[in-house]
Subunit: 423 residues, 2 copies
Amino acid sequence: MQLPELIRDIGRRAREASRSLSTLTTETKNAILRAMADELLARESAILDANAADVTGASAHGLAPAALDRLRLTPERLRAIAAGVRHVAELPDPVNEVLAEWTRPNGIRISKVRKPIGVIGIIYESRPNVTSDAAVLCIKTGNAVILRGGSESLRSNLAIAEALQAGGARAGLPADAVQLIPVADREAVKLMARMDDCIDVLVPRGGKSLIEAVVSTARMPVIKHYDGVCHIYVDAAADLEMAARILVNAKCQRPGVCNSAECVLVHRDIAAAFFQTVAPQLEAHGVELRADEASFVQLSALDYRPLARATEEDYRTEYLALILSVRIVSGVAEAIDHIERHGSHHSDAIVTSDEGAAERFLNEVDSATVYWNASTRFTDGGEFGFGAEIGISTDKLHARGPMALPELTTYRYLIRGEGQIRE
Amino acid sequence: MQLPELIRDIGRRAREASRSLSTLTTETKNAILRAMADELLARESAILDANAADVTGASAHGLAPAALDRLRLTPERLRAIAAGVRHVAELPDPVNEVLAEWTRPNGIRISKVRKPIGVIGIIYESRPNVTSDAAVLCIKTGNAVILRGGSESLRSNLAIAEALQAGGARAGLPADAVQLIPVADREAVKLMARMDDCIDVLVPRGGKSLIEAVVSTARMPVIKHYDGVCHIYVDAAADLEMAARILVNAKCQRPGVCNSAECVLVHRDIAAAFFQTVAPQLEAHGVELRADEASFVQLSALDYRPLARATEEDYRTEYLALILSVRIVSGVAEAIDHIERHGSHHSDAIVTSDEGAAERFLNEVDSATVYWNASTRFTDGGEFGFGAEIGISTDKLHARGPMALPELTTYRYLIRGEGQIRE
């Protein structure tokens, strides 16, 4: 089959599968997930062999060591993947939840009920665990899924998808409910993105260029996970020890993730005192500071190293590394203005004991998560108590911030009458 | 200014305006709406003069009489527009509604709060009342709006937009909160659709080709209002008088709208009896029937006119006219299958006294609104009790079915702590 026909065929099969999937009971879906977990473990050697072939191939193609590590599976990692599947089976099923219910004066009864979306396309890069993680969240919510992983992990992804299909089938999973695009051709992504009659939503999980490519082609909604250019604003009324603890946590605890801080804004009245408190801690973590003129002078006086002058571009950059932009501001208004102009509307925090300043910040910073006196690192499905996470949406529509099972559903209005007609 | 710069400038101004708009109190927003209504009435002669020029121009260009009628404003219609603005001022404000609130074991308090989306782009065709209707719903929900109406109504739209701006400004509306694209060039729509940094969502209101054009260019989410190919399934256990009443209402009460029925599916066991009941009523309304072979034979025997054989294409067609497709089916399973394959997932109904068949239909028909024993004509914001309606979304994400004020909002997570950091 040619690629366009192959992708259309996969789309059609997924749409068909989604019809039976959407009517499965919670018990059946959970039994399917448990059977999938069993099969992943039963096929350990086949999955690890496929993965070893991927690692060898990727290594020969010069994949960077960090990416090779993300690609590599071990018996331990496979057990963790299977445990993740079992964990999703334990979570509450959002499907059929009644969101609202009312009766109109003419007697018709309206219920707004959560239902599966239909067919979800997941486009991702090198980590093979996404094959399983994403698929089981879709199945739990009654959606068919089309998976399109990175070419370097194709053998691993195929082995994992086959295990999920075989295990699931034993427990009643409809055929074609979980499908993986079996070819590495990048054209497949474009073909998926035009197929809005078969795919209801695309979720690209990966770098900005992948997301951009999907957004510029897609005809269906795309749930985007763009950059986190996150800020900590240290107000004049901040407890400086608390501010330092929050900043160091937000910058250093795991600098490579989207909810880590990339910029600190400091009120001019407490800047000198704050830098004295925090600079030794940041320096101990090896954080490079990129400072505006006013803070550069103060940090130079403290002999901070490494220290550079910030460019306008720095303030828009998600470093994902031990680098931090610094700027001194005149107050909460200027801090909000900076964040609105330079930030990415992901997660931003104010540290202050002034409730008025805090409430203004919470009200005016238009980010998915806005914090008062806490680290931005809490923007996470697990930390929110959601039990599972597909990702952290930077969109404003449908899903914003940490996305969990309810965000993989839509709703229908179900109306029950006794023959009412419209006059 | 060249068109691309003009559109970018409008986008930038809207983004800026959205910041102040999002913080307005409900009282200020309602005062703005009331001042807008006053100004629409105060400018009656200017608006009607502009409209008369549009009507003359459109008439000279050969616009069809029905479209000319939609374009035309009268003192009465303008009073209705102003009354609509006042009505929106009376509605509850969804902004700042707390959707959920909880405390995590580490003590951080999480609130999920409704907030304005930001900037909404509305692209519409000839009716000038949309300029006012859409703008006031956006302002009520704290969103800036960019309006792009049809070229034939440009003078009317400009006069209405100026009245809204002038009236609003007196009551505290930020500059550029309501902007109208002041040129007729169709390129403007494409430029808007690429500007995802300035416009958060596009809502095209118009025919399929307009929506298609927006969908294929847009980088931001588009809330689509596609066809309504709506079905009435008359089950074996239907009360045939009720079924006839519902079908005649759904087909004939207002055939030109998206929630009217386009196809009736009839259980074979009661087909003859049902046709005997309903045929005289449909014939009295002048409804043309397009029938499958089995129903064609029966309807011919009743000497039904006008009657034709249905093609496969008929079953996918939104007639928006007094034409109805007919098909005999073997039961609820075949009815559901037909609807899933041919329908547009808008509004579909079953008429039956068999609760099992009804619940199966409600559970398996994947449409925005699914009915048991009621007319599909109730799919409407007003009929649902929403007080206002932007349109009826055929999307599954963010907004499905009748869209009202809450669907013009997003949410933020606001987190309050006492210095918590992530371990």
